[in-house]
Amino acid sequence: MDFDEYVAARGQALERFAYVLTGDAHRAQDLTQTALLKAYRHWRRVTAAEHPDAYVRRIVTRSYVDWRRRGSSREEPVDVVPDLPEEGASADPAERVAARDELRRALVTLSPKQRAVLVLRDYEGYDDAAIAATLDCAEASVRSHASRGLARLRAVLSEPTVPEELR
């Protein structure tokens, strides 16, 4: 498989992956292109890897974590996120969409590793071992980031909504 064939087959999926990680259109494009640029320069090494796609995703993921560590994010955490709908409301598709929107807003409160772990696990379907290999950390650390990330999301979503006039 040459570089063009790879990008034709997997480019859009990579763009989506980068966007799910960053939540920012410009940053996602930049992350995708930067990762593909690195892969392009070392294409022989990429194709020699057992799973070339996983190799490129590792570049994207680590670049994302490095970027967040360096201290800048165009995402601004929301001040207050309302409760999710009450139990039973999920049967209503509109309310489920609203719940998803609220969860989406809460994602910006995650640390870079928490978000990377949850995206790899719940978007890419990676198991703990694959996530650990991608992030170059121990599986126990993966489980810890996942658990803390979920706890963080639950905490943010359980904060009460403050009426505008009381802020």
Binding site: F3, D4, V7, A8, G11, Q12, E15, R16, F17, A18, Y19, V20, G23, A25, H26, A28, Q29, D30, T32, Q33, L36, L37, Y40, R41, D66, W67, R69, R70, G71, S72, S73, R74, E76, D83, L84, P85, E86, E87, A89, S90, R96, A99, R100, L103, R104, L107, L118, V119, D122, Y123, L150, L153, R154, L157
Partner: protein, 198 residues
């Protein structure tokens, strides 16, 4: 209540559906690779040339017209060298080389990914990574940029929300821009040259 763990996969999938798509991605990446190769060589040459032209211009006492048009009025040179030790955080290489501009007070560094374009090139962002020196550390308050275009007095303001770090800095015209920078209690300034995209 819907549990977060139950909602998360479909939420992330919904986010993914909103992702931007660049047609011809492989060609965009190849163009960036070609441009970076050219910038690596040309960046150093341009810095040397600008310094040389500035020096000869100063010695000869000639007018501003002798300077390259885009660099006219600029005083900060682009260095293509190993980054100072304090600016290497986040790089995988032990001694990373990069194109960068130092603040006049040495409190901040602007690391440039490629040549800066105005208007922005459609397939390349004006990426600038700001690194504050340990003497002027970031407190994560915004980095405020006041940019003045040399020779015109045109002023624009930009802000990097969480302070020095990666940013995309688009400015409205090509030329030499003087940037006054402020983050927390610290300030510095430097010049950046923006050129029309090729």
């Amino acid at each position: 209540m819907n549990d977060v763990e139950d909602l998360l996969p479909e939420t992330l999938t919904a986010v993914g559906h909103d992702a931007p798509h660049i047609p011809g991605l492989a060609e965009v990446v190849r163009r960036r690779a070609r441009r970076q190769r050219a910038t690596g060589v040309a960046g150093l040459a341009a810095a040397v040339a600008t310094a040389a032209v500035t020096a000869s211009w100063a010695r000869a006492g000639t007018g501003d017209d002798d300077l390259p048009a885009a660099a006219r009025g600029c005083t900060s040179a682009v260095e293509n060298a190993v980054l100072p030790a304090w600016a290497r955080f986040g790089f995988s290489e032990p001694e990373p080389r990069a194109s960068f501009v130092r603040g006049s007070l040495g409190r901040i560094l602007a690391i440039l990914g490629t040549a800066l374009n105005s208007p922005p090139a459609p397939d390349q962002h004006n990426k600038v990574v700001w690194v504050a020196s340990p003497d002027a550390p970031s407190d994560r308050s915004p980095l405020r940029i006041t940019a003045t275009l040399a020779g015109t007095g045109q002023v624009v303001r930009r802000e990097v929300p969480n302070g020095p770090g990666p940013s995309i800095v688009d400015l409205p015209a090509p030329g030499c821009w003087h940037l006054d920078l402020a983050w927390g209690p610290h300030t510095d300034s430097l010049d950046l040259v923006y050129v029309p995209p090729r």
